[in-house]
């Protein structure tokens, strides 16, 4: 029974997927009496050869062809507005990575301090509570003005949104390290650095990693929106660009890619989390 469970779940997933494709196919089937509104026709005329794209919601087959087309050559680069999806995703990942890395550099030590010192916890709490609920994109104008670079601004937005879950989880994890372990370190006269790295860090690591995992999820959501705003490169820009082209199959393809990459990132952090989790 238990051994079969994964197979049965996979089978059910496949069936659901097939149903989804089937409904999609049915919903987008070209009907005999196509009612083309005047506006659509005019738009199609304006677009010249664009008529094919404006036909309506793309069928599964059309999207499938797009998948094959993009994935067969993911790394081409034909100038600013025509890059392979691999390159676009790489740009986004680079921004997320840089912002996330910087946030880690700030959030982990700061979280440690807040977690260890009730004074700092109380002193910094009002700032954290005010800054935390701000939509990361609201920082964009300030970031653009101060940093004067759209790329760096994107990284800053990722930095600021990755910050809070990591900071709060680190502080919580550090503050709730079991008293016994701290007492063991105290009776052994363990120095502060050794205590931090060999007792508190491993004890709080699962909580910290949970915070990092949440941060990474948020960062990947925010980067798409940020790139739509700043433009230029990245998977968010790609989506917006294809929308402007009214190339819905490309949009659907990009959305799927965003989901898949997000899933892989989460999976990677899940593996990391498993590595630092201890059985008690």
């Amino acid at each position: 029974m238990n051994k079969q469970l994964p197979y049965r779940a996979a089978l059910l997933s496949l069936v659901l997927f097939a149903c989804f494709i089937g409904i999609w196919q049915y919903a987008t089937m070209p009907s005999d009496n196509v009612v083309v509104s005047a506006a659509d026709a005019e738009y199609a005329a304006l677009m010249g050869q664009g008529a094919g794209k404006a036909e309506g919601f793309p069928t599964p087959a059309a999207v499938g062809r797009t998948f094959v087309h993009f994935l067969s050559d993911p790394f081409y680069d034909n100038g600013p507005n025509d890059k392979g999806i691999g390159i676009q995703i790489a740009y986004s990942l680079m921004r997320v990575g840089a912002g996330f890395f910087l946030a880690t550099l700030v959030a982990l030590p700061l979280g440690f301090i807040i977690g260890m010192s009730p004074l700092m916890m109380r002193a910094l709490n009002p700032f954290i509570q005010v800054l935390k609920p701000i939509s990361p994109l609201a920082w964009m104008p300030l970031a653009l003005y101060v940093l004067k670079d759209s790329d760096v601004s994107g990284i800053f937005v990722i930095f600021i949104c990755s910050m809070w879950p990591m900071l709060l989880n680190t502080a919580f994890g550090v503050a709730s390290v079991r008293r016994d372990w701290i007492n063991v370190a105290r009776t052994l006269e363990v120095g502060p650095l050794r205590k931090a790295f060999q007792v508190i860090l491993p004890a709080a690591a699962p909580t910290i990693l949970t915070g990092m995992r949440i941060s990474m999820g948020i960062a990947w959501i925010v980067i798409v929106a940020a790139e739509m705003l700043v433009g230029g490169t990245g998977v968010g820009y790609f989506v917006w660009n294809e929308w402007n082209n009214l190339a819905l199959p490309n949009v659907i393809f990009a959305i799927t890619m965003i989901g898949l990459v997000g899933m892989l990132l989460d999976f990677a952090f899940g593996v990391l989390q498993k590595m630092v989790t201890y059985r008690d």
């Binding site: 016994d180 372990w181 063991v184 009776t187 052994l188 006269e189 059985r279 008690d280």
Partner: protein, 309 residues
Amino acid sequence: MTNHYLSVEALKKAYPTSDGKAGTPVFDNIHFSIEKGEFVCIIGHSGCGKTTILNVLAGLEQASGGVVIMNGREVKGPSLDRGVVFQSHALMPWMSVLGNVAFAVKSKWPDWSKAKIAAHCTEYLEMVGLGHAIHKQPAELSGGMKQRVGIARAFAIQPKMLLLDEPFGALDALTRGTIQDELLKVVQATHQTVFMITHDVDEAILLADKVILMSNGPLAKVAEIVEITMPRNRTRAEMHHDPQYYRIRNHLVDFLVNRSKTYAGGGELEQYDPKHPPVVRPGLAAAPDAALPAETARPVPQLKKVVNQ
């Protein structure tokens, strides 16, 4: 005063109440001393502040008044001189058994090479019968084995004094017996000075040179110091053949069941001097008991009755 190896003088602890005022002290004016190489158990009901006293000795907690002097120096904070075995073993689950002991050994001797530390740790783990499990994770061990690792960790730093906070409280009776035997063996071999909290009267009789009896809290005090006069080479299997055993046991149980309450709060005895609590040797009670029937003739059911009350 300071000619004892460790002396506790006028120790007091009061926890603040919720409105910030100092509450009734849990214990007050506690005096006792421990000699080098002595095994001292402390017995008392919950809430009499045993663990607090141990934590003060360990330097983990501050007393509200009084001092602890060890080796001529006041105990002000935690120190490698005093190893602690915690009630809940307190092993770090992300380290192996060896890693846990090595963490302590490295704290004591930071300059030792890895190989030397490993050899030292292995020696102590073998001493508590865990030579086969040194590379296991704590989660893979039973409760008794974890507690043994905790004991090995405390012994491995060769502290001047060992503090045990009810180390076998969470173990089943069989495991407890085996570990008691091991502890006894190690203590006899190393002449370790030990201060141990226990609830188990038999454990105290087996291990201790003297037992400190605490009256009930709040305002707990040292009611009596019972010297265990049985020969030091006692074993769990043979102990109950010694006629002293039942006299001591009855005395301790009688105290816990009947007399610990009457000491609470006010002074029961006019002549009670907190600096010199009465020292009793119930094991040697044969002489004053001479008027009574000979000990061998003492009816057993009566003993049982006292024990079961």
